[in-house]
Subunit: 308 residues, 4 copies
Amino acid sequence: MSDSGMSAASFRTLYDRLHGQARWGAGDRRGALNHITPQRLAAAAGEVRAGRTVTMAAPLASSAPDNPEPAARHMKHLPAEPSDVPGLSFAADQIVMNVHGDADSHIDALCHVSYGGALYNGVTPGTVSSRGAAELSIDDARDGIVGRGVLLDIPRLRGVPWLEPGDQVTAAELAAAERAQQVRVGPGDLLFVRVGHRRRRDELGPWDVPRSRAGLHPAAAEFLAERQVAALGSDSNSDAAPSIVDGVAFPVHVLAINGLGLHLLDYLQFEDLVPACEEAGRWSFLCVVAPLRLPGGTGSPVNPIAIL
Amino acid sequence: MSDSGMSAASFRTLYDRLHGQARWGAGDRRGALNHITPQRLAAAAGEVRAGRTVTMAAPLASSAPDNPEPAARHMKHLPAEPSDVPGLSFAADQIVMNVHGDADSHIDALCHVSYGGALYNGVTPGTVSSRGAAELSIDDARDGIVGRGVLLDIPRLRGVPWLEPGDQVTAAELAAAERAQQVRVGPGDLLFVRVGHRRRRDELGPWDVPRSRAGLHPAAAEFLAERQVAALGSDSNSDAAPSIVDGVAFPVHVLAINGLGLHLLDYLQFEDLVPACEEAGRWSFLCVVAPLRLPGGTGSPVNPIAIL
Amino acid sequence: MSDSGMSAASFRTLYDRLHGQARWGAGDRRGALNHITPQRLAAAAGEVRAGRTVTMAAPLASSAPDNPEPAARHMKHLPAEPSDVPGLSFAADQIVMNVHGDADSHIDALCHVSYGGALYNGVTPGTVSSRGAAELSIDDARDGIVGRGVLLDIPRLRGVPWLEPGDQVTAAELAAAERAQQVRVGPGDLLFVRVGHRRRRDELGPWDVPRSRAGLHPAAAEFLAERQVAALGSDSNSDAAPSIVDGVAFPVHVLAINGLGLHLLDYLQFEDLVPACEEAGRWSFLCVVAPLRLPGGTGSPVNPIAIL
Amino acid sequence: MSDSGMSAASFRTLYDRLHGQARWGAGDRRGALNHITPQRLAAAAGEVRAGRTVTMAAPLASSAPDNPEPAARHMKHLPAEPSDVPGLSFAADQIVMNVHGDADSHIDALCHVSYGGALYNGVTPGTVSSRGAAELSIDDARDGIVGRGVLLDIPRLRGVPWLEPGDQVTAAELAAAERAQQVRVGPGDLLFVRVGHRRRRDELGPWDVPRSRAGLHPAAAEFLAERQVAALGSDSNSDAAPSIVDGVAFPVHVLAINGLGLHLLDYLQFEDLVPACEEAGRWSFLCVVAPLRLPGGTGSPVNPIAIL
């Protein structure tokens, strides 16, 4: 819950320490997805017991005043209108989406963040041109991200309906939530941290999200490294705002994506998953994230599915 | 392999017979997804053994001369350029997609096809307006479509690299492929039928897909009904072109989506899945289809994941 | 300056009276453009003396918090990057625009407004389908709207920098501005009414434009009819907000577009034109409005050019 | 009509000679628009006699198989559907356009072409970033391009309905067309050269335009320089394809935009203008080109208007 500030030098030291733990060779482009071994993936299938599935995505293309360029959907054909096609008519539409728009559920590819003159694993930012990302694009995750998912519910731990904008979740709180929920995050897990952003939005309406968000404290990235999580998702974008790090606006993005090679899942919602976990009496599940196949893409809209 | 033509009257009789088998009440909006019971879903998780995942999607936003309005992706921010954000820079892009574009992997919602003045289950086409589909939108599948997937490989059965445009797959061939591949399609399965469209495209280049496609013979829809499949996918769009039914351009779309309440998955690719199945020595797997959350949407781009 | 409210019945009476003055036959699709005769158009060329041109458009694709879905522009090719084209490289971009977006300069086609169950001249609203407007589209103005332009500057008349949101410009004020500026609006003229919206935005920043705008008093539409103007433009959207008419949100749009067959030009800016007129010592000019050729379109972005 | 090829060295010599004639100082960003003086512009207004206007644009957003990513238009609101707005309903749509798409009428800004490591007047290509063009954008022409227009009709000169793809128009032919049409291109004129591309398309259907086009012979750029034209438009894109210059794909684009600072107008149509000129008995007119206000833009869709 600390928000006492972090100096640029302390942040750099933290980055260097974490960055040194992403060790899959100079040619690696999968980052922390390497933690998902076939054995761990097969074991995760054992999480399926009730035969129930739950979305972790928020609706796209809704009116979104907290998003300056929201996703949009337009109709192309209406089935009630005459058709060029003999014997039937179609309903069809088009979607337009800024992949990393605030409020729209999406995944960040490892090319998304440049820090200190490099992308993840020292890849030069110049590999991303107007044609897209020649390296580290979301297409590297085209076979899906599948593993054991674990949801840690921080408002539940704190006994509040949601964290307020600006609140920060520390490593100690993540560990406390594990104990309270009787689950332990381990190697290859997909970790989801609920701050209650979506519920707050549903109840109080949208606010100036780009400038005020609850999120992880930067030092909590040590927890991610130590537990060897494979991906990190949140109902915020994982980074609190304003940033407490001098001169670095998105410290968790830098540490997680650029330093640890973690794909981030932003602006999810867990309002369907929480009651399902409560009913099942556990906070782990098989989780499938299926990014669209976008060669060169910096990320993708996603609908992560929890299977209990 | 028959393409001897079907009269409008025969088609109507077939439609009426199949339509009568979709029996989940007047308020039903899930159609054949009802075949996926919790028991069947939980059992499908048992298909995961090797801990391996495979995409069934084709790349989006590729140069697509067989698609008059292809999906597109544009860069919004380049990480090699100066940034407004302190301490880091971002790669970000935007995507634009006609959901039902030829060549782009997507799922059709149950509102997609109007036939005889009605959508699936008698819903009026007027429920789809310029705001989107008030009924039967893809959001009804927001929790994902998860079950046992089965791939039937028709070119393998015929001993050819791919089916030629215009070729039709009969129910007898589907049954023959089952026997040859030692797998049996059953209730709640997600059935995938390979005609080799994508491999032909990769090897010979694109062609006039809207006018010439391999696909299922309309009468093969009886197989889908009888086996109670929950969804149908293909590397074509399931419908052969030109149509052999007098006056009905997309007979399989009509029978499957509108008649049986089957979500169709169009323009997938199985070129990664075939060798994975060969290696595993079986043609069934856990399958997860995660449509984007598009309230009112007529479908969604998807990346179906096979987990073996 | 009155904002004392207008009853639904008074509004309907006003509408009926004005509507009756648009008399070019049942098949007419050009509305008040009919006031621009070849003679008047040729005479308007005599307004060109100094050989100077001035834009009346505001920049598109700017950051626009007063516009929930602003126009956007994306780069497709950067000339500093390697090129597929031998010997040279290109800069190229894409634009996306909601034609009638608040803050973006555009023209409204005569199909834009349906009132009392009809478009202009009794055309049925059903002629506009998801394919576009079969009647009254902006393509009817594809040869451009060219005539004498007259700018009436209401803040100048009132001695204020701009009108405040909610302020209404009466017919009496339009006549007073004519006298003060020594110009008289006549048949076939393109009338531009400055309320200072754009200057206020430049100086104070954007505000909630959809809910609070200066504009014309509905009764000022009588002035438009009497003077037989051919088109009406404003740096607002001609309609004040909130509306003073019971139950009618955009009364000037209804009276002008639907009743009189006037093309409206919304969200222009006159901050370049005012000093040019001052320097020239007159408030009339040759004016050219060139809508894009958008068959079926409900309007178009435009950059009206004043030639003095 | 020559297509005997031009060596890279000859082309470079030609480029250097023409480039040396664009002399408005190191800070110039308007290029050949400088040829339009106030006197010439005022004189051009004298071309208006009949009071008639004619579009030179082709329809946007039409089905365009010769354009891999055509402009598109989608409906946002239909007036026949219930409305959120009290008392009326709206028809509204959205447009999407690649500014330089083949088949869509547009203007190229001076930043459009980089050659020999520089944009027009030595500006560095790095001034164009993912945010747009910081220099030489189309916003430099925001006050419109207004002057005397002259149409030279080459198929008329040759006695053919259109030039075939690959045909090249020489300087000698331009001069011959002047004589035949009794008009002389002079300083500050907007020159339009008809090759009949659009008529061929209307009659024979679209073809592979990116690879086969009629256009100007590169050496005809000497004519443009000598006559001091201010802008050049064509119903092709001014460049023939395939290129006859070794190693330079768009030699006229390089010579005209990059060398001479000429704005190019591509994919216009003159099928309406030709009969209007015939009727008027002359081939000159007042011409107004009004690019949209797109700060940073590499060009704009346009609808150039001829006023006779």
